[in-house]
Symmetry: none
Subunit: 203 residues, 2 copies
């Protein structure tokens, strides 16, 4: 019986130990799940300063490419200053779009306007995008403007330097044209070949 | 002794269970550490199949934009098929470049060639990039080719569909021109306005 009691104690200890360890496993697994969840980054949202001006995000140059154009102009007449226009989309809003086909609240698009270069070897023809002239943004945020989408100009090296924050443009300057002509929810999808291809089927 | 033997069995079972569970905890903690490490992404490297052909990465459309051009051609004569050419860079290699000015071993660049669209309202002038025609890649990997940089063609919807893996192009097809004309380490930086701006000063 002495041996038996000892065995009982050992078995109880071992079982208790096993239960503690099991709890640790479950706890740790919870941590792993949380870790994995944080790999799916939460929605990045527009940031405003004290005057409710939109802050220029620090990392917009690393956003996801959705469209490129050259010399796109709304005016009938020729002879305007042509530029490369490139549209980038904030990555968490991009991933939401790829899953749902929707521009969620807080979606940010950056438009980068660049100069045109030619005649650099080995290219004997064609045009390439050179230095950045100005940066603009389109943001969907009903909390900021009642109509939902607002448009911002941040200037750039060719426009007196970058501004760290900008007020929305008047509604008539950008919004009215976007709401009239945009292929999808105020966004000129008709110019965004890559975003079209990333749209989920049937959405 | 019957009970004692039973207790022995229980205690052994419990201890074995505890040890298995403990091993699981250690294993799981290892997974957590790996998970955290992946938050500071380690260098993403090119992947090859059994024939040492480069696999087309699944996420290259979400890489970082470094350059855009239209109708860039190496030939003297005109009249060739013009396209929008866009170069994207794998993000961990991009961040290494932004810090050091160096294209590290394993750097991957994707070149996307797209058709040209015109006359879509509200644009009355200009050209925009439409559907993807073909995808190519440039990869720096001395382990794959002795000269360091290799160039790959993955086809696309306008070239019989995408290939999931590709062999390097012959050295004379791409490498020779790149090594002669590239502004920096076989990369045509002269066409990459955004990458130029992202180069650290003095590097």
């Amino acid at each position: 019986m002495q041996q038996s009691r000892g065995s009982h104690r050992v078995s109880k200890l071992a079982l208790t130990f096993a239960m503690i360890v099991w709890a640790a496993v479950v706890g740790t697994r919870g941590a792993v799940v949380a870790e994995q969840a944080s790999d799916t980054p939460s929605a990045v949202m527009p940031q405003y300063d004290g005057q409710r001006n939109l802050r220029l995000p620090s990392d917009y140059r690393q956003w996801i490419l959705v469209g490129q154009s050259l010399g796109l102009s709304y005016s009938e007449g020729g002879g305007g200053h042509q530029m490369f226009n490139t549209t980038l989309m904030e990555p968490t809003a991009y991933r939401h779009f790829v899953q749902t086909g929707q521009f969620r609240e807080g979606t940010m698009l950056a438009l980068i306007l660049q100069g045109i270069g030619t005649n650099a070897l080995p290219a004997r023809q064609g045009q390439f995008a050179t230095d950045v002239h100005v940066v603009e943004m389109a943001v969907k945020d009903k909390g900021r403007v009642a109509e939902g989408w607002a448009y911002y100009q941040f200037g750039g090296p060719m426009a007196g330097g970058y501004q760290s924050a900008a007020a929305p443009q008047p509604k008539a300057s950008c919004y009215s044209c976007h709401v009239e002509h945009a292929a999808r929810d105020n966004v000129f999808m008709q110019f965004y070949g890559l975003l079209k291809e990333a749209t989920p089927p049937g959405k």
